[in-house]
Symmetry: C2
Subunit: 573 residues, 2 copies
């Protein structure tokens, strides 16, 4: 609906200048996309060409349906989703079999349908439950796991596994079988990549060095393909990508067996959420630069459709890539139509590259994957979180370690649960402050932090948390202790500026507190109760029963109650 309007708006204003900028950006993106597509397909356990296929139709569909006008995401295969795909498919079928390919297609379809449904139900907010520390821990953990999972290709051995606990022992067992030519090729590729990415250190001008850095993976692969074709490396036992069926991606519907769908569904949901969070973060940071905003629900529709397109063209799950989107932005991209140009270029690449691919050594792909993902390990983010909030640092570290030891899904679930529990934990023992009046103002502040005036007969207590079942008894104990120490107090005013909810348990507790205070000769009052909380209190019998007043401000409360006390004291004299 609204998506078509966006496209129309873009097309109506589209001119030659914009087209030129989009085409240039598309060329640059494709130079990065080709090697990434090949490598990530290998990471997902799929034939290299599947990565190329996944970089055609989905790009067109996303450009036409999803893209917000000011945003130029580069869709296609991404490292983390490829790792998650391999983890999801491993229990279902053996990599390399036809069943594995069929299951990959089914998984991609599920991802697409789930994203589409979320978009139609306007559920984009669900992604908010992945906190920044969890995402950072997850990305770092995945990057490490991906890097380690590629060691087998560098060593020329077989060591499968989805977690460090599986991969490391397998690597150790197979180490004696390592293939020296493959290892030399792999280490050489790594060294070449590191060199090409750091030419600026050797005095190459910055702009040129940056360009070479962006093309480094492609340069390496072209070199490797040429070397492979010239030397026939497979004859020496070096594993290569092997024969690739040239031609267009096969169009067709995936396997929809119910048992398979059920088995893949949980993984599909997580892949969809992770892909969405990654893409939306990129989109949002791009939109912010241009002072525009994005529509997360429309993004969901576009990403869902793109994944369905990927499923129908024999591909793998797709999302926006950090590195390629950044490159497109640097290249002064104009509109989302860059995706259409890139798709056409990728189509040409499939037709042209397929014959060359068969001699490309897997060790070279592994080297380019390792170099790409190592940059994602976010050590400074970890340190920053630790300093600001150690418990969130724990959630971040738990996610990272969880991903490494138990896999991507377990790591994310652990991180999200831990984040929620760590948020809940302090709410169960809330901060409370006895407050007094700031002299000369109507404001009340913590008696322990400010020089304030307290009334002898009125105790003002500020509760810095919603009142709900885990902290209700805590409030009761705290008030009991405070009152026990202050014999002259006749009124207790709860300052509710920080109370955003009062649940049924806390309401019961407030009634109990009020009764207990009555029998100690103290009247409970409330002040600064927020509108939504007050609306709900009025639906209970508490306000009639507790005998106190609800003051609009703490200042009002003190003025009224202090005056009463003084009047009573004067009458008593």
């Amino acid at each position: 609906m609204f998506s078509r309007w966006t496209l129309l708006t873009t097309l109506r204003r589209y001119d030659r200048d914009q087209a030129g900028r989009d085409l240039l950006a598309a060329c640059l993106v494709c130079l990065l996309l080709v090697p990434q597509a090949l490598a990530y397909a290998q990471l997902a356990g799929l034939p290299a060409v599947a990565g190329l296929y996944a970089s055609i139709l989905p790009l067109v569909v996303y450009a036409l349906i999803g893209a917000s006008p000011g945003v130029a995401l580069s869709f296609g295969p991404v490292a983390v989703l490829s790792l998650m795909t391999a983890a999801a498919l491993a229990p279902v079928a053996a990599a390399g079999t036809a069943a594995y390919l069929a299951a990959a297609t089914t998984l991609t379809l599920l991802v697409g349908v789930f994203l589409l449904l979320m978009g139609l139900l306007r559920m984009g907010f669900v992604a908010n439950f992945l906190s920044h520390p969890v995402i950072s821990g997850f990305v770092s953990g995945s990057a490490l796991l991906i890097a380690v999972s590629q060691f087998k290709h560098l060593l020329g051995i077989s060591a499968d596994g989805l977690t460090l606990l599986q991969v490391l022992p397998a690597l150790y067992m197979q180490l004696p079988a390592l293939h020296l030519p493959t290892l030399l090729l792999g280490l050489g590729s790594l060294a070449l990549l590191v060199l090409l990415r750091n030419l600026v250190l050797f005095g190459v001008p910055e702009a040129l060095a940056l360009r070479i850095r962006q093309l480094s993976a492609l340069l390496l692969m072209l070199l490797a393909m040429a070397l492979g074709a010239a030397l026939q490396l497979e004859v020496y036992g070096v594993r290569v990508v092997g024969t690739v069926a040239a031609g267009l991606p096969p169009l067709g519907l995936p396997n929809l067996e119910l048992g398979l769908l059920r088995e893949l569904l949980p993984a599909a949901v997580l892949i969809a959420l992770v892909g969405f969070v990654e893409s939306v973060s990129i989109a949002q940071s791009q939109a912010m630069r241009k002072r525009q905003s994005i529509n997360p629900d429309q993004e969901l529709l576009g990403q869902g459709a793109a994944n369905i397109a990927a499923a129908c063209s024999g591909g793998m799950p797709v999302a926006a890539s950090f590195s390629r989107s950044a490159l497109a932005l640097q290249s002064n991209v104009a509109t989302p139509l860059v995706g259409v140009f890139a798709a056409v270029l990728m189509l040409a690449a499939v037709l042209g590259l397929a014959p060359l691919l068969q001699h490309l050594p897997q060790a070279v792909l592994a080297a380019s994957i390792i170099v790409a993902v190592v940059g994602l390990i976010d050590v400074s983010g970890l340190r920053r979180t630790w300093r600001y909030s150690p418990q969130e640092g724990i959630a971040q570290l738990a996610t990272l370690v969880g991903v490494l030891l138990y896999g991507v899904e377990a790591g994310i679930l652990l991180g999200v649960s831990l984040s929620l529990l760590l948020f809940l934990w302090p709410t169960s023992r809330p901060h409370m402050a006895v407050v007094g009046q700031l002299p000369g103002s109507e404001h009340f502040r913590n008696v322990e932090r400010y020089q304030v005036v307290e009334s002898p007969s009125v105790l003002s207590l500020r509760v810095d948390e919603s009142l709900y079942f885990p902290n209700a008894r805590f409030l009761e104990e705290r008030i009991g202790a405070l009152i026990a120490k202050r014999s002259s107090v006749r009124h207790l005013v709860l300052m509710c500026s920080g109370v955003n909810q009062i649940d049924a348990s806390a309401l019961d507790t407030l009634e109990a507190i009020s009764e207990r205070l009555h029998s100690a000769g103290v009247q409970l009052h409330l002040a600064e109760v927020k509108g939504p909380v007050m609306d709900r209190l009025q639906r209970s019998e508490f306000l009639q029963r507790f005998g106190g007043q609800v003051f609009v401000s703490q200042y009002q409360a003190l003025r009224t109650l202090d005056a009463e006390s003084t009047a009573r004291a004067m009458r008593a004299q």
Copy 2:
């Protein structure tokens, strides 16, 4: 440690008057405890005498170690824990076997050790995570489930099961086999109980009617034992309690096989928590009447020791009983030593009653269980929760239905998770209000609820929730929308009186918001930031980077910023 002091204090002041009151209360409690102990043992799938055994040693131990001075809890078997015991033991062994008895002892030991550990670690607060609606739903559901589980005894058939889904079909299948004499006996017992409990309706004076009501279960059982012995009911096919080994409870250590321990641990944890919550609630309500307070950690130690004692005397898990504790309080009990008196009386009961028990029909026990638990079904509590807070009503109902359909443990876990999620849900879409100054005061209120004054150049936004990952993006969107509509705004002041935490994700978002506002020519400021939140912000670089000020109050912010704007406007003229 502190527990011994409590006992010493009690003993030092103990006089003849107190002893007399305690003895009388103990007699009355035992008249209720004997039939309950027999019935709850049947409910737990244990021999009737196990209930009596569990009412001796644990009472002494709790009186000496746990009891807070002003509190007189009646320890011993309780209905809900007996149901949970049956559910925990069913997968481990068949009821009636020696393995079942051994497992029951092991379970009780685990419960005791867990409570003791919680007490030593001062973890009494954990019980707070069971919200009132969850407890109410759990008690009502258990009561219903207990009542239905006793129908088989009324009908004289076999229909085992731990949930309604298991019990109801079993009852239906076995219905044709019903034993008419048993049914008549059961219905007759029910009718007699209902009659004895409602004599006040037939003109009996209130005090006498109350006394008879309290003794009704005992009267019924004595009558049934006499009838059983006279008529030899078992000859007619009526199932009876059967031969009971008279004598003292067997002292000895339980089976400590590792596999069994691991299998029973989750159930033991829940039994311990539920027993603790029940006991602490009773203790707290009693202490409140006497204007005293209890020490939850000491209660944990006492209850742990009591359960270990129960395990060592061949018994079943014990806790405080609502009905018996209320009776003790009505009987003007003086000190916790009532438990010691009651234990001595129960010892006599074991020795004297054992021979009579063998002719007691199970249907009579079933009738007394049903009448006892039906009173626990809390319909008015359900209605009250629904009115105050429908979503907590859902948690309550889910717990109730969960207990009925999936068992006690699943019900509680469902209820607790749902309660936490329902608390989190509104925090993910927090209430925010644009606020203005109440004329003639320093206070700021929602512009939609109050007649307030707004500044054209300063936008004041109050956020009624802690800022954390699920709501961070929501804040960003909301601020974007607000600023877009107000072109004259130069300053945005976030009023943080309701912000009790700011997590790392929200901090990132605040930085992003601040940058975005800068580029729109608006400066972000904070006001009324609480001490603990400020302490943490100072550990980040946000305060240096965001370029705004942190005001002690919203009033201060407005005065400063409005003055600046006016000065700038005057300079411009």
